[in-house]
Structures are given as C-alpha cells and as structure tokens.
Symmetry: C2
C-alpha cells in the first residue's frame, strides 16, 4: 500500500480514513497483521498493525523488504483517447516502468477536455500498488503539442510512433540517456505535427509493424521495445 | 467490415440483418456508398452498396484494395483472467498479429468457467475490423494445461514468461518457425507447471524486466518482443 509518510526504523504511520476502511473493513486485517508499505522514496517496508478501527489506524515499520527501485529516465507522452483506454495507458506506463507520464493535446486529440490529472495520478498509484512497485510515476497536467516542443530540452530524445511508416522495418535506436516516447491519438499525428517532429534532431520515428495499432497498444509496444533496447530489461 | 462470403470480381454479398442495421441504420450509408470488406481469405475489397433496407442489403465487389496479409505462425496461449482483461488480451492478440488464440486452464486460473469462445471470437473479429486487418485469428476452445502439453507438437516452440525470472536479464531466442507464447494467470504458473515447461526442449523461459507485470501487460509485451525478434516487424 502507498502511504505519503516517511518509512524507516521506528517510523509510525497514521492511516487515512480510506486506508483504514480498506485494510480493516475490506481486507479484514486486525492488530498484529502484516502490511507492505511504500512511499515512492524509501523502498518497501514490512509494517505491523498497531491500532485498528473503522476510521483510523496506526502501522509500525519493522524492516525494509525491498530497496527503492527507480525506473529508467523514460517519459510516456500520449494523446488521451477514450476514458477506459486512457486509464489503461497510465496503468501500463506505471507497470512497465515509466518515470513520468504526460497527457498531450494534439491536433486530432478528441478527449483532451475530459482529462483529469488527479484521477490519472490515482490510477498510476493503484497500478504501482498492484504490481508491487516502490515508485509512482508523476502524471503531469495536460500539455499542448507546439508549446511542449518549443521548450523541449534536446538532451531528452524522442521516440515517436509514426503510422506513415507502417510498411517500413522497425529500427530501434540504442542511445542511452533520457528519452520520451510520444504516442499520437487515433488518426495519428497531423502532417504539420509530423514535420515538426521530423525537423528535431533529437526525435526518432519508428514503425510498429505492418498492422495499424490502436494508441493504447502502440504505447505498450513502444515502452516494451524501449525497455528492452535502452532500459532496464536486459 | 468482415463478411463470411467470397470476395472477388462480380461477387455480390448479401448482408445479414445485423450488418444491414449497422451500415444503414447506425452509419447511415445509402445505395452507392463505399464499404471496405474482408473475409479472412481474399484480402480487402472495395464494395458498393447496391441495395439497402433496414433489415437487408446487397454489396457489389469493385476492386481489391489490399492483398490478404497473413500474420506469422504465432499462437497466443493465455490463462483467462477477469472478463475485461480477457477481452483486452484477445483484442491485442488480433492487433499485434497472432494467428491463433488459445485460452488455457492452469492450476491458478480462476475464471476458466466464464470463458465463452464465441464472445472471444467476436472480439477478435471486431479488433481486426478496427485495425484494418484482412485476417481474423481463430479463437480455440478452452484447453487444459497438462492435456495440451501431452499432445504438443515439439516443432512449435514455446516462449513462456516466468515470474521466477523477474531479476534475470531478458534474453530472446531468434529461431524462425512456428511459436506459441504462453502467459500464465495472476499468480503465475505453479511449480509443477513450471517444471513441466522447463523439461520441454522446445520451451524457452524469458524474463519481462524487473517489475511484476499483470497478465494482460505481459501478453502485449511478449507479443511485441516476439514480433520484433522473430516476426514480421523487422
């Protein structure tokens, strides 16, 4: 479980009402039970329930069970699509080890006005909890395509998935260092956006095979390929 | 749109009631409109609406717009999980180019009794329609782990994702030929199942990085890696 509290020897963690409800109401734990905690900074700690009621509770840290495992310096920048698929992309980014998640408004983005940063951040947190992570990627506020690229730091390379390359072979770069993966909306990037990206020396277009992929599939596939070629999978 | 009818010069395709409802009721097409058709055998054809009513219709094939694009000889064999995530895996397998999809009952599979082959086949068809595919992977009936492996043809290699290898580097085989990707349920394969797989010469265990992935994420990641290393992406 994620807690916004320091974890370490002798640390006592007071639970929020929601956390107490989950542990003691839903999971039916009681005093003395074991809980795994992480806060995104101090790794994973085993804690014991010291006090439990319906609306509150206290956990005592016992021992660190995992060190903090930082993901590589990878951002996932994606154009929001339908609600379920946007939640899905955020979940998968947290699981696959993105350090930061940035929703992006592009020319063909339909759903930008429905993007709620707080909900997406909660999805990222839940995904980290589910997969036993020790780190929660930050979800940024919605950004606009041109404005983001105008102020882009070129030491962060960009890998973008270009539907126009659907018949070309996949050739992955292998440069170490900070990267961002850019995923367009259904319908892809506009010609103007594609030209802009192709004019940037730090941007690399890749093909994701001979079939057209949905945006959520492209996001997972691109993160997988990046992790294998340049991340912490090998 | 998928039709179960030969496609070719002078072919006339009679629509089912559901198809007529979709084209003329939902999409509001009329006589003379263009529709793209595929049947999984004859590629994609442009057809014209020759007759349209609420409950029926006729399309005339005009010209082939794409040849049949067969996926590589890859099976996705997976343990069904929650309903939404099972549908998702089938959708992604169709998009990413699996030739056959096999639901598998393993020791830790919770949801086997809720697997409906006809619904999963409909999902695969819809995914092929959505991504402009010309081929629909066959969804098999649910199979049992031991029985399937007892009669396994060893010329089809098996790539299985082993949670026990979570800290090992990812090393992909590169053998050409028929393959099956095996994805276990939440909780992974049992020790007995893992021993059985490791005893098969045609089976290769891989790690999918240092984070625990959900089964649906593992399915997409493994298909992506396979397509890149041994499939039609490069």
């Amino acid at each position: 479980m994620y807690v916004d509290h320091p974890l370490g020897p002798q640390e006592r963690v007071a639970l929020s009402r929601e956390q107490a409800h989950y542990l003691f109401g839903v999971m039916r734990l009681d005093v003395g039970a074991d809980v795994s905690l992480f806060n995104g900074r101090d790794g994973e700690w085993r804690a014991l329930v010291a006090a439990a009621s319906k609306k509150s509770g206290v956990l005592d840290c016992v021992v660190q069970t995992k060190p903090l495992q930082m993901p590589p310096d990878l951002w996932l920048v994606f154009a929001p699509i339908k609600k379920d698929r946007t939640s899905f992309i955020v979940e998968k980014a947290a699981e696959l080890g993105a350090a930061r998640i940035v929703p992006l408004q592009t020319e063909y983005t339909q759903s930008a006005n429905r993007v709620r940063q707080d909900r997406l951040q909660a999805h990222a947190l839940e995904a980290a909890e589910q997969c036993g992570g020790t780190y929660v990627p930050e979800v940024a506020e919605l950004q606009k395509f041109a404005k983001m690229l105008d102020t882009w730091n070129p030491t962060r390379r960009i890998l973008f998935c270009d539907e126009a390359m659907v018949d070309k072979p996949l050739i992955l770069p292998t440069n170490a260092g900070p990267w961002a993966i850019l995923i367009g909306p259904e319908g892809g990037f506009s010609d103007k956006e594609r030209d802009r990206l192709n004019s940037m020396l730090c941007a690399h277009a890749i093909s994701l095979g001979p079939r057209i992929l949905r945006a959520d599939t492209a996001a997972v596939a691109a993160m997988t390929l990046w992790q294998q070629a340049m991340g912490d999978w090998t």
